[in-house]
């Protein structure tokens, strides 16, 4: 079985990565890490560079988990890219980081996490960034 983690180099992405690593260890699963961007802006901090991908990979290997990394620009449809990867690779669980969005922001740009939660055929683990008080 594989666990798909939607990774972005932000606190949310790191939280998802940690949760995915723990879950993979528990289930003895391998991890498929997907990093993508809508690709419609000239700069996008969520599109990881080589260093960030290497760091993420190292973090997972520390947990003794096998990793496959996929990185591609999705044609404006990040949720679709995640769902497609999940369908193609025999994925049993999707791990996502959640962040707070304003209602207006969701109205204009939509919510990737919401679409994955609603449309994924496999269970989805949604992770939040631990608040500083915990």
């Amino acid at each position: 079985m594989k666990i798909l983690v939607g990774y972005v180099p932000t606190p949310e992405g790191e939280a998802a990565l940690t949760a995915a690593a723990t879950e993979a260890e528990l289930r003895g699963a391998s991890i498929l890490l997907l990093n993508t961007s809508r690709g419609d802006a000239y700069i996008d901090a969520r599109y990881a560079n080589a260093d960030e991908l290497a760091a993420a990979e190292a973090k997972l290997r520390e947990h003794g988990v096998e990793v496959t990394i996929q990185q591609a620009v999705s044609e404006g449809d990040v949720a679709g890219a995640l769902l497609k990867a999940a369908a193609a690779e025999d994925v049993g669980l999707i791990v996502l980081g959640l962040r707070r969005r304003s209602p207006v922001g969701k109205l204009i740009l939509g919510s990737t996490a919401q679409r994955v939660l609603l449309e994924s055929p496999v269970p989805v683990l949604a992770v939040k960034v631990p608040s500083p008080h915990d």
Binding site: D40, A41, Y42, I43, V73
Partner: protein, 520 residues
């Protein structure tokens, strides 16, 4: 005492530009220029085209020109930012900057590269504005001796020279020019009043408004063109190293290595802006190769690994070229780049006739415009460096939203001109034509030059013939006209210079043909 009177008039201009309203236009102009400079694919020509319809409502043309000029040179400042930080030139004038600038950024010297670009732009902008201040009026006086045949010849030169140097194919460029000339012919004949190419419709009797052509080609066509290449791998901007504001982010050796390229870049940019060579592209690349040669000679050749000279020179050159562009634009009414052509259209809208008379009839306008260049350059220098992180944020805007907004704004602008859907439809059709021209590698700057200069050229041509009683030899018997016409013919061969030189030397040419991208 020419010097003193120029000084007095300039001071008069300063007092006008420092009025709150004009200062506001200057700030608005340079800010807009900075933003469109940063955004690849969106240039000053497009922005000015987009704002042209709005300026119809201005009671006073001075504000509009201050703003347009600000957009033009503000874009030169902004263009370097994207070149350096993400290796995607924001403007064609900043292509040369990207070569060394991005390498510097990768080596952790992004701030130094941005600083030498900004300070160099300021130095070049200011020096070249001083040159403009003192050169403009004498050239204007010289131009007052021009006769109709000379005007015809020089207009022809401007169109042909810019067409020859832009784009990958001379034939395509000339075809574009002919399309522009044709659009310019539509409507009533200015001398006889006979309708031409109106196809029997009353709508076309007035001709096609230059503004509609410009908005269609630049705003709609260009936007469709960049939007058609929508998806790209997003870049991560290079990280800015920590720097202190007080030293301007440049250390002593940076200053030492930058000031000469700044001056050389200025010396290249100003004259190349003034001659019809399509604006800033040619001098930036020339400056780049001169700086590389200089560095090789001195032995500390860092070119290829982020040489600061390779940023300082071209950035100074592109800013200096702007003041150069203003010389023929103000004194002869002759645009030497696409953006200048759009500005000329703005002059026509306000019924301000650029040319030798301009300094007499509209001296307040001219000197306020020139004074605004000094102020604008200063504002840009102050805004540029400390706020660089904010400027870069515009690159995060999702491009579909941006382009959709531009298209809506363009249609709205055309509609506001006439209040009729017919004009909007016409602009859209021209936009779609422009889109396919760009797709098929036809440059669009010659079209605009043809539309704007064509009618003026025709008028001078026919006036010459009327004066000479129909004797066409007047164009070659007057020495000045003859020289300019010979230059026009020679201009056609300029792009093939490398091949000709190589043939003469008996070596294989490295480049088949000099090509320069569209000035945008």
């Amino acid at each position: 005492m020419i010097g003193l009177s120029v000084f007095g008039e300039l001071m008069h201009g300063f007092s006008a530009v420092l009025e709150p309203m004009n200062l506001l236009w200057a700030i608005l102009g340079v800010t807009l220029g900075m933003l469109v400079g940063i955004l690849p694919g969106i240039g000053p020509a497009l922005t000015i085209a987009l704002l042209l319809p709005i300026t119809f409502n201005f009671s006073d043309p001075i504000g509009a020109f201050i703003m347009f000029a600000g957009i033009y040179y503000g874009a030169m400042y902004g263009g370097s930012t994207t070149s350096i930080l993400i290796n995607t030139p924001g403007e064609s004038a900043s292509v040369a900057t990207a070569i060394e600038g991005h390498k510097m950024a990768l080596k952790g010297r992004a701030r130094a590269a941005l600083a030498t670009a900004a300070i160099g732009s300021f130095v070049a902008g200011t020096i070249s504005t001083v040159l403009l201040t003192f050169v403009a009026k004498p050239i204007g006086n010289l131009a007052s001796h021009f006769q109709a045949t000379d005007y015809f010849a020089i207009t022809l030169l401007a169109m042909v020279a810019v067409t020859a140097i832009i784009g990958h194919s001379l034939v395509r460029g000339l075809l574009s020019l002919v399309v522009g000339l044709f659009i310019g012919l539509i409507g009533l004949d200015s001398l006889s009043g006979a309708p031409r190419y109106t196809f029997g419709t009353l709508r076309l009797l007035d001709g096609i408004d230059v503004v509609i052509v410009i908005v269609g080609l630049f705003a709609i066509g260009e936007t469709l063109h960049v939007a058609s290449k929508l998806r790209s791998t997003p870049e991560r901007p290079a990280v800015l190293e920590k720097g202190r504001l007080r030293t301007g982010y440049l250390n002593k050796s940076d200053w030492g290595r930058s000031w000469k390229p700044w001056l050389r870049g200025t010396a290249l940019g100003f004259p190349f802006g003034a001659i019809p060579s399509g604006g800033a592209e040619v001098p930036t690349f020339l400056s780049y190769s001169i700086e590389r040669r200089q560095a090789r000679k001195k032995g500390h050749d860092e070119f290829g690994e982020g040489a600061i000279e390779g940023v300082a020179g071209p950035e100074a050159a592109n800013n200096a070229s702007f003041s150069g562009v203003l010389v023929p634009l103000l004194t002869l009414g002759l645009p030497t780049s696409a953006t200048a052509a759009v500005m000329l259209a703005a002059f026509q809208i306000f019924n301000v006739q650029p040319g030798p008379q301009l300094f007499e009839d509209e001296s307040t306008l001219v000197w306020t415009l020139i004074a605004s260049l000094y102020i604008g350059n200063l504002i840009l220098l102050i805004m540029n460096l400390p706020l660089i992180q904010i400027w870069v944020q515009v690159l995060k805007v999702p491009r579909p939203l941006l382009y959709a907004g531009i298209l809506v704004f363009a249609c709205l602008g055309v509609y506001s001109l006439s209040g009729s859907g017919y004009e909007v439809l016409m602009a859209l059709v021209i936009g779609v034509v422009g889109f396919f021209m760009r797709k098929l590698d036809f440059p669009i700057a010659p079209v605009v030059l043809g539309v704007i200069l064509g009618p003026a050229m025709e008028e001078q041509f026919r006036r010459s013939l009327v004066i000479s009683n129909g004797d066409a030899s007047v164009f070659v018997t007057r020495p000045l006209s003859a020289v300019i016409i010979v230059l026009t013919v020679l201009a056609l061969f300029v792009p093939y210079l490398p091949r000709i030189v190589a043939r003469l030397r008996g070596t294989q040419p490295t480049h088949d043909r000099l090509t320069f991208g569209e000035d945008d």
